[in-house]
């Protein structure tokens, strides 16, 4: 089901001309909606509500159409995420190998539920339903990289590295 929650107010400013250019560059293919939204999210990290009319105009569709697509797909985020995105695989293969222990660990030690961001802004936790790494379950994904044969201790180490890295950066 589409996400039901209302988008949070997002005051992050962005350069409208640059976003228009990103949209224009991605809009040349047939059925360009997903490529355009991916491009905007790649550029801004999320898709602010102010972008919706820009996309609607560029693709010659209604704002409702854009909004509907945004809400339908799990990938598109309406608010800025943490500096790193961490997905824990919740699917059957990973469950069979103890994914739940990693979930529990995240909840108890990071105090994070899914779709939440740590207070230091280092990472946002998301669920994912299969990363295609089922022969090395359980799996998590950090940004563009998949990590297999995960366990709570390795997960903790991974998270600590992400948080330390952003503190020194």
């Amino acid at each position: 089901m589409p996400h039901a929650s209302a988008p949070p107010d997002d005051p992050t400013p962005f350069n409208t001309d640059a976003v228009r250019e990103v949209i224009r560059a991605a809009a040349s293919v047939p059925g360009a909606m997903l490529p355009v939204l991916h491009a905007v999210q790649g550029h801004l990290g999320h898709i602010p509500s102010e972008v919706v009319p820009l996309v609607a105009q560029a693709l010659n569709v209604s704002r409702a159409e854009v909004q509907g697509v945004l809400d339908f797909y799990h990938d598109f985020r309406r608010a800025p995420p943490g500096r790193h995105l961490v997905w824990i695989c919740r699917a059957e293969s990973c469950q069979a190998m103890g994914a739940e222990a990693i979930e529990t660990h995240a909840r108890n030690h990071l105090g994070l539920a899914y779709h939440e961001t740590t207070a230091d802004g280092a990472l946002t936790l998301e669920p994912v339903y299969c990363l295609g790494n089922c022969a090395c379950s359980p799996a998590v994904r950090v940004d563009g990289e998949i990590h297999g044969r995960m366990d709570p201790i390795r997960f903790e180490k991974l998270v600590e590295e992400l948080r330390a890295e952003t503190v020194t950066a």
């Binding site: 990938d75 339903y129 090395c136």
Partner: protein, 529 residues
């Protein structure tokens, strides 16, 4: 002489440290002044040995694994560059029983060399099928695929040649070939492995499909969960175009066909073919009513071939070696091979391509080596999150489409997820409904509302609240979902639920002795297909 060393760049191998191993090998080689040529191949599919390092010797490739970066100095000291023995050594890769026992037709090349190396691809038999296809009239080409017995490997098992024939006969200015690479089923990774490890094979299959039906444009709809596969496909398409395999005039034949890889956005339902078309057209992935079939009115309203990665990647070998060669594998109406994927709680997880007709017992124990935990395997889910859970008493049923449908199960995409005896099957049944609720596109009521109610009813059954009444209600709900849903998501989510209930009633708190047993058999009839 520089030794050739293979370290996979497959995302599964990378997920367990292949990059660190590759770097350690280069660093150690430099320090020891022993020159190596590092090849970043795809995975051979022996994932429990990943990162699996291979060294080329006169006798063949020798495998070592699983290798950690800290093992590398020791491997050098033992002389692994010359194939010498080591505690991580497994001898000749091709002689490892897991691999030696396989019948790799679709996966013949995966893991052998660098995925983007076009010269290697051609050297290993690539484009032989395409060259033959380009010399054949389209109807002969379709007949060849029909005669091979190839059926849709995405799960539905529809004869590929028949589908192609429908699109071929349709009259339209533009036709499309769309590859469904939205491999969302848990326990499946063969599409990913092939796209990452042998992308030209998929591209070749798509060009052949385009030639057969007269299509000019093609799309590969790939999941956003597969960033590596997406990047490799994009490069492969570019290189294939530069080499003249794609574009306005394929290999000087006058045939035009070009391809784009398109990224999904994290919606499981977009693996359903009509939902995928909606997504490709830039809309929410709402399932379409059928008819019209996509073969008649598909992408942008035009006749469209939609095939799974495995179906399309099986086409080149069929064309290269002939339909009879392919058809001779398999049993009954399940012809050819299927790349099975062993996942979950299994000691030797990985890819096993075999002809249809073998059993779960062979896969789980001969190949898989039993559970990873060492405990008994209690349940196995075959065919993804919408597939049935099977108990040990079904492990001897031959894996062919018809035999599986007779036991109310499906082979699907060939994903096999094992669970040991600690699994709570009521929890897995609940998860099946929960997953359906999360991923439902929302268009039809049985799926959208039914899955939510299913979660609640299972909760009441497990809590022991009016159990008999709720079991009847759950059964009725499952009937409604099976018969009333628009697509397989709502239509098949009851399969894991009913099979869990049928085979593992105790997990739901159902007393299986005496009167309760009678009640169970009365209220939980086997589902129908």
């Amino acid at each position: 002489m520089s030794a050739r060393v293979f370290v996979p760049a497959d995302s599964g191998a990378l997920s367990v440290g292949a990059e660190q191993v590759a770097r350690a090998i280069l660093a150690e080689a430099e320090q020891r002044r022993e020159p190596v040529t590092l090849v970043r191949n795809g995975s051979r599919g022996l994932y429990w040995l990943e990162p699996m390092v291979e060294v080329e010797t006169r006798a063949g490739r020798i495998a070592y694994g699983p290798v950690r970066a800290e093992d590398v100095p020791d491997l050098f000291a033992a002389g692994f560059l010359s194939g010498h023995s080591h505690r991580l050594g497994h001898g000749l890769t091709d002689h490892i029983p897991y691999l030696a026992g396989q019948e790799r037709l679709t996966f013949a090349r995966v893991g052998l060399s660098e995925p983007l190396n076009l010269a290697d691809y051609c050297e290993q038999g690539g484009f032989v099928g395409l060259r033959r296809a380009l010399e054949m009239p389209p109807d002969a080409l379709i007949r060849e695929v029909t005669d091979s017995g190839l059926r849709g490997r995405g799960g539905a098992g529809f004869p590929t040649g028949v589908k192609w024939s429908t699109v071929g006969k349709a009259v339209a200015a533009t036709k499309y070939v769309v590859c469904n690479a939205d491999e969302g089923d848990s326990g499946t990774f063969s599409d990913r492995m092939l796209m990452e490890g042998d992308p030209y094979c998929l591209i070749e299959g798509m060009i052949i499909a385009a030639r057969a039906v007269g299509a000019q444009e093609g799309y590969i709809y790939s999941r956003s969960e597969y960033p590596h596969a997406f990047a490799i496909l994009a490069s492969a398409i570019q290189r294939a175009r530069e080499a003249g395999y794609l574009g306005p005039d394929i290999l000087g034949t006058g045939q035009a066909f070009d391809l784009e890889v398109r990224l999904g956005a994290g919606a499981y339902i977009c693996g359903e073919e009509t939902s995928m078309l909606e997504s490709l057209e830039g809309r929410r992935g709402l399932v379409r009513f059928k008819p019209p079939l996509p073969a008649i009115s598909g992408l942008f309203g035009q006749p469209t071939v939609i095939n799974n990665v495995m179906s399309l990647a099986s086409v080149p070998v069929i064309l290269a070696k002939g339909s009879a060669f392919y058809r001779d594998y398999g049993v009954g109406r399940s012809q050819g091979t299927l790349p099975f994927q062993l996942a979950g709680n299994i000691r030797h997880g990985g890819l096993v391509e075999k002809a249809f007709g073998l059993t779960l017992n062979e896969l789980l124990y001969d190949y898989g080596g039993g559970s990873a935990s060492g405990r008994p395997i209690r349940a196995v889910q075959v065919g993804g999150p919408l597939g049935a859970y099977l108990p040990e008493s079904r492990f001897d049923v031959p894996l062919d489409y018809e035999a599986y449908s007779r036991i109310d199960a499906m082979i699907g995409h060939g994903g096999i997820v094992a669970f040991d005896d600690r699994v709570d099957m009521a929890k897995m049944a609940r998860y099946a409904m929960e997953f359906c609720a999360i991923e439902s596109c929302g268009k039809c009521t049985p799926c959208r509302i039914g899955s939510q109610r299913g979660v609640e009813i299972i909760d009441r059954i497990v809590a022991g609240r009016e159990r008999s009444k709720n079991l009847i209600l759950l059964d009725s709900l499952c009937d409604t979902m099976v018969n009333g849903s628009l697509c397989a998501l709502g239509g098949m989510a009851p399969y894991p639920v009913r099979s869990a209930l049928q085979h593992f009633p105790a997990d739901f708190g159902i007393d299986t002795s005496g009167i309760a047993e009678r009640e169970r058999t009365e209220t939980v009839p086997s589902r129908r297909i």
